[in-house]
Symmetry: D2
Subunit: 296 residues, 4 copies
């Protein structure tokens, strides 16, 4: 079994580490919050004193952090882990971060002849716990093949998206479509209800017609349609509204950088912002249904 | 075989009448354009001198017109066909019109004890020709049962949506979602391309993930993905951009009337308007991909 | 002194009639709410039994109603006042209504050789009471000259906008700009505050720079800047948010009819709708500042 | 006369340096493009070999660059000018950059006990040439007083906006309002024209009513109203559309950072992006009138 380094032990990192430990790996962990390390010690993880300490000697190094700035700081500079990695080591960033930051990391890794994959995940905390995440991976194909068996301990669908940066790109573009289509479904169901349609009837019609989308058929924001959807659990997440907003902001930054046009994406981001500004950021993102229905 | 009256012989009405004739029905037809009637005479249709002339003695009366005003004018008033209908006759409006107009027609029909269904269709000219339309029907269930065998000559999926008006409502709400999600997919694919993703790869990922929607998997606006999609036929319709805009305007009017909120629907309508204002109204609605990609 | 007919005695009509009475005119009034007529009887107005009863024998006939449908119903048809007017009479509609309805009324008036002006007002209830309304007038110039002395009893700025319909058009286009620029000012001041600018300082800068607009310099939505602005009276109207939404909807309908593009107007309408959906319709329209600041 | 350092000799920097030279100052200049330095040599400027070379010994140091990244790189790090400045020197950044970058610079300056002002300008190339810029200044008041006489050589209106960062903040918030209200005016005039209003008449009405704004009364985007406006010079800038987009992006980033809500600002940014994507970035920003009128 390999020695794995895992930096970033939050809501997502914690269960991911547990899954690596379950499979028998040695996992050295680091987090700026000491309690987060302690919580995993009893499971068998080895707390480190710094990112560099965690990274040295590991053959696979994961980061699962919140922002591009955090990842850049962890990897680069004199205190960065890139100075510690063996040339045979493979660095995997599973954070969801700016395209620009990912590109910078790949470039630095290349210059140092380090292997690197960007491997953001989707599926939320539940997916991390159940090891059913979807993981979209960018980097060299041989590195992907090397990482795959380990990634399969963390998720169910491990997809190779292409060269470095394409993992982040795929996630951002997918979630751009998701964020918009979720509001589209909210608007359709809200209007349907006000026009006197029975919502189960409307679902039956539209899910078999050109309005069909994942937001409707797997995660319907109107209660009473899809049993397991957050709309039937008082909109407990699932995938928090503020995380969806984060991803839409990543899409906006990527669009700015590449001069792509995403007018509905921008509008969707504003709607989530308005919704969140009223204190709803930790509800599931499908709770924007309440906003569209005119409820406070 | 019944005698059927069909008023409105445009792109949609013409092939619908042909399908009724093929099944052996007697069809009396009317259109304000005499040539439109002549074109169907050789197929066996019987031209009438007025809507009233076409409607009297028929047991099923169809209208397939462009606007609510046209339908109201055809049905109501001294010259309207409602004055001519036998109490056993059933009136079916297959036009896509304002909810308000549909509601007024149902009310007037009720007062006169006439049977009425609103039965807008989706599937476009190709669907009308191939008799593969989806038909969403509102009205009393017994009237639906009576009309069903005839509607099955015109379409493949005949759905009962509920009481009077619900056929229009279902179509409007479905197309609201469709109009938005189509642009969402354009934005996602355009951004993906600019970020260097292979679009086939991105399709493979997103169509199996939370971004999936009918606009992507059945009608992908990026060429090279779905063979039969208009994007692979130089965006020849299909479903014209100006017809999508019409449906989004119907959604806006319905939302105004019921105080529903459709912010992304409003934004999508503006984007189609901008696109159409540059001379693109008769392209397929998925051609808005070109606009999102920044092409003139 | 002339005999004037005034139909529609709501918040605006009531003070307008008082001003006409004060000037010594005989005013016959009608409203569907009997109490509204009684309230003016003691002031000297003469209640009528119907619109037709009010209109006959008057030389100037005003309507001040809420919707185009109400005005059309009052004027046209067998029960309409147009059947009662002398050819020397002049009909003035001061309601804010659809361009399409105004155009229809002008057309009908022309066919009957009746004089007509569309003369919507701005200035709100306070302006109506103080006779300081701005009145934008469309119609023939000679009719404008005839009406002017009377209109000057009601407002301070009486502007001739051009042929029939241009009064409504001018008001709609002005309020379109107003509705958008109000939100622009809210966004600018809200962002300025969050960035740590002193708002009085920012006002001093921007009101003397390219961001200057009436919404800022006469009606600033941030409290503490313009003494008399509703923002300093707990956002009591003034001009209600729901009335601004009505005007933006009129702009959207006019844009649809003429294929004009008003993307920011559409977006502003959606923002007012969202704001109103949370129970704020009767606050001043500048209260949308609260929504932009993220308050419930 | 003082020795002034000026780094960044583009469209804006060049005429600003000329104005400093005219007043008799010694100006040491630097630009990464050698030709830009040569062009000013004949006017009396002294070319430097590096930013550090330009900055040492100067008592006032200006930067006028395009992005926050460029300014950060010029000031900070081992090669940065902050290492060269005397404690009596005053650093002035006139670039329009990210709030975040400005804040970082002020912080670094403070730690090194250097005086610093952020002093972005508005007025464009014409204002720079004519020394009629508006300059919005953030920093300590004593530093403002020290810089004021020099700034008055460059602009006509020199405004103190408050503590460090407030100059940038004021400009960003002002231009946010400007960018939105310009499109508002385009929409109002375009709709007015389609409704048959004479535009001079509409201008007369709205410029005296609640729709009034600087974009209308000083810079009307409809030709034929304001003689000197770019709309009467085939939309030659003036202030380029792409520069307006840059400022709206700065506003979006500032809003993200502070969780401010700017939905219309976001929408306006998307509209300028769409307009620019069709090849119009170097036209004046008021040329978006063409887009709103539906022209390619």
């Amino acid at each position: 079994m390999t020695t794995i380094c895992f930096i970033g032990l939050g809501h997502m990192g914690n269960p991911m580490v547990r899954n690596l430990l379950k499979a028998g790996h040695t996992v050295k962990v680091f987090d700026v919050v000491p309690e987060a390390m302690q919580a995993l010690k009893s499971e068998g993880a080895i707390p480190a004193t710094s990112p560099q300490d965690a990274a040295k000697e590991a053959s696979l190094i994961f980061t699962m952090l919140q922002t591009g700035e955090q990842v850049l700081k962890t990897c680069l500079g004199e205190q960065g882990i890139f100075t510690q990695l063996a040339s045979s080591a493979l660095y995997i960033d599973s954070s969801s971060i700016e395209i620009k930051a990912t590109q910078q990391l790949h470039q630095e890794a290349k210059q140092r002849k380090l292997g690197m994959l960007d491997a953001p995940v989707s599926g939320g905390v539940a997916g991390a716990e159940a090891a059913t995440l979807t993981i979209m991976v960018g980097g060299e194909e041989k590195d992907f093949e090397q990482a795959k068996p380990t990634l399969e301990l963390l998720g169910k669908k491990i997809v190779y998206a292409g060269p470095g940066g394409n993992g982040q790109a795929a996630k951002i573009c997918n979630n751009l479509i998701l964020g918009i289509s979720m509001i589209a479904v909210c608007e359709g169901f809200s209007l349907a209800e006000k026009l006197g349609l029975d919502l189960k009837k409307f679902f039956e019609i539209s899910s078999n017609a050109s309005g069909q989308c994942w937001s409707m058929t797997h995660y319907c924001p109107a209660p009473g349609i899809i049993d397991k959807a957050p709309s039937n659990q008082a909109y407990q997440p699932g995938f928090m509204a503020k995380m969806m907003l984060k991803d839409l902001r990543l899409a906006q930054h990527a669009a700015e950088q590449t001069q792509a046009l995403i007018p509905l994406g921008a509008e969707a981001a504003e709607l989530y912002s308005l919704f969140i500004s009223q204190g709803n950021g930790e509800l599931d993102f499908s709770a924007i249904m309440k906003f569209i229905k005119g409820l406070k």
